[in-house]
């Protein structure tokens, strides 16, 4: 990175929060602080919901995911449009009618306080940790490649977010997310265009895609019912539906985004916008990864993209072994490039054999990368993030012109800031409204609760930075964070669906059903190898089955059904 890159980077990440602070200057009532005001329209809500979900991992990891395993991951999003329609039709009207600040207030209206506290507690535990991971994940990659100090990177990404989220509340989160998302979309479109431009002139775009497909990178839809396949149409549609329903319907970091503005119509339009654009957006991000894969068929890639880890291993006595693997990798790369170029000249009958040869060479290259990874593990250089996370950022740093490098680093930091601000805003609001107000100060003024919400948001920000700072001490923390969401989401969703669809069930049966369901998920998590996406379905189904059973047995005739 040169001075121009740093100028673009600093200007981009500072200008948006400063504009947001200017737009939200002056004091706000509790309603304005927690829900924004009527000026927030559907486009802002839509981009805000999109930015909250995307986060830095989407833009940093997804192209690398496609580079490594192809674009089949797109199927994980197939349940989302259906879930968003259910959220629009069922969840949003109820939240709007009850004029709640947090989703968990509904649980008190429908059931009782202990159920509200349970739902809010489960949310705080998993999102409190997720906020730290959202900051840590890009910081570890950027600090490794750019030579920045890890703690400085964490404070750069986290500190600025805390300041503007605390000052401006929900309105500033919505406004900044809108512009941050625009920067992200423009930056990614430019990266896509540059990647296309840098492709080899030897092949047409169609021929390039055809080759990428033959090398297993473009299988977007797989209707297989094989349960051992990780990404299929059915697992994405069913598992993805429950995950998205829980995330958009019962996770305060999303609920707060679409309740901003307070109009049912604007909330619904913002969510339907997401239902329409999410799959195409993810497709283009994954396709970018496949195009970068094709770029590196002509331009020699590093044998291991996490070069700082590679260098550390080379300097600790493993240099000769790594050099031998590098030589073999270079040889395979040269053969592979020649094989691809010769494909244009071979006859149709010879094409099959040529493709088989190419696929064999690609498998050899993959094997050499795995061997390199094995040596890094032997050397005790154990990277805390996946190697594929370094693919896109390496492409940016090595292939983009100056200025654009700064813009694309800004894209990753904007994604970090926008996702973190939404989570901190939701954590502060939930702690203030679901815990502080009913349990500690039930009769204070609006101003008092605004101050409390600001203080609690700042406190959660500091906790997130502390989690990010100590994250490197924990193995596979990013993966653990992904699993954590699915472990808790099912039970939370079950609480809400029981409230909406089981009319005769009351507070205590639902509360204990959720506690039992959560225990069941913990036991399954500890003792089985079920794919974690299925915990959403299992936790939710357990609440919906156990609650009526408990109602008809232990809690029979003990409470009158609530009227909401």
């Amino acid at each position: 990175m040169n001075r121009l890159d740093y100028l673009v980077l600093i200007a981009t990440i500072l200008a948006i929060p400063l504009y947001g602070l200017w737009r939200t200057r002056g004091s706000a009532s509790l309603g304005q602080y927690l829900k924004g005001d009527a000026s927030i329209r559907w486009a802002t809500i839509g981009l805000s919901v999109l930015a909250t979900q995307a986060g830095p991992i989407t833009f940093l990891s997804m192209p690398g995911q496609a580079y490594e395993s192809g674009i089949g991951f797109i199927q994980n999003y197939f349940g989302q449009p259906l879930a968003l329609i259910v959220v629009c039709a069922v969840f949003v009207p109820i939240y709007q009618r009850l004029r709640v600040y947090t989703a968990y207030q509904y649980l008190r209206e429908r059931f009782d306080q202990k159920t509200q506290l349970l739902g809010a507690f489960l949310f705080l535990v998993q999102r409190g940790i997720a906020a730290g991971i959202t900051i840590y994940a890009p910081a570890i990659v950027l600090s490794a490649l750019l030579g920045w100090r890890l703690n400085l990177t964490i404070w750069l990404a986290g500190g600025l977010v805390i300041v503007y989220t605390v000052v401006g509340g929900t309105k500033i989160v919505s406004i900044t997310q809108r512009y941050q998302m625009i920067v992200i979309l423009v930056g990614m479109a430019i990266a896509f265009a540059v990647a296309l431009y840098r492709l080899s002139p030897d092949l047409s775009f169609e021929h390039t895609l055809s080759l990428a497909g033959k090398m297993g990178k473009l299988e977007a839809v797989d209707f297989s019912v094989d349960p051992h396949k990780r990404y299929t149409f059915w697992s994405g549609l069913i598992g993805g539906f429950f995950l998205a329903l829980s995330y958009f319907g019962a996770d305060q970091s999303q609920v707060q985004r679409y309740l901003a503005g307070g109009s049912l119509k604007e909330s619904r339009l913002g969510l339907l916008f997401n239902a329409a654009v999410k799959v195409p957006m993810q497709f283009f991000i994954l396709l970018l990864g496949a195009i970068i894969f094709m770029f590196y068929q002509f331009e020699k890639p590093p044998v291991y993209f996490n070069q700082p880890a590679y260098q550390r291993a080379a300097e600790s006595g493993y240099g000769p072994q790594l050099a031998a693997l590098q030589t073999q990798f270079d040889d395979v790369f040269t053969q592979k490039r020649a094989a691809i170029r010769s494909l244009a000249d071979v006859s149709a009958t010879e094409r099959g054999a040529a493709m088989t040869k190419l696929q064999g060479l690609d498998a050899q290259a993959h094997e050499l990368r795995n061997k390199t990874k094995g040596i890094l593990t032997q050397a005790g250089v154990d990277p805390k993030s996946k190697e594929s996370d370094y693919v896109f950022i390496t492409f940016i740093l090595q292939q983009m012109p100056h200025g654009l490098v700064g813009l694309l680093i800004a894209v990753i930091l904007c994604a970090t800031m926008s996702a973190t601000s939404a989570i901190l805003n939701a954590l502060g609001s939930t702690t203030a409204i679901d815990f502080y107000r009913p349990l500690i100060r039930p009769d204070a003024s609006d101003h008092h609760y605004v101050v409390a919400a600001k203080t609690l948001t700042a406190l959660w920000g500091l906790i997130a930075i502390a989690v990010a700072s100590f994250a490197s001490l924990v193995e596979n923390l990013i993966e653990a964070g992904n699993i954590l969401g699915s472990v808790f989401y099912g039970s939370i969703l079950g609480l809400f669906l029981a409230g909406f669809f089981i009319r005769r069930v009351t507070g205590s049966p639902v509360f204990f059903a959720a506690v039992l369901a959560q225990t069941l998920v913990f036991v399954l998590f500890a003792t089985t190898n079920i794919g974690y996406l299925w915990y959403n379905l299992i936790g939710c189904a357990a609440v919906l089955i156990l609650a009526p059973v408990l109602q008809q047995t232990i809690f029979r005739n003990t409470e009158a059904p609530a009227g909401v």
Partner: protein, 39 residues
């Protein structure tokens, strides 16, 4: 379950949901055709 929407408004929202579903179905069909064409 109904938030007090009057019938014409509810009907227009049902149309919006139908349109969104149709768009999603079209996206899946296009992705499937893309898969067949390039795999």
């Amino acid at each position: 379950m109904n938030a007090g929407n009057d019938e014409p408004e509810a009907r227009s929202w049902r149309k919006a949901y139908g349109l969104t579903l149709s768009l999603f179905a079209m996206e899946v069909v296009l992705l499937y055709l893309f898969t067949i064409r390039f795999s």
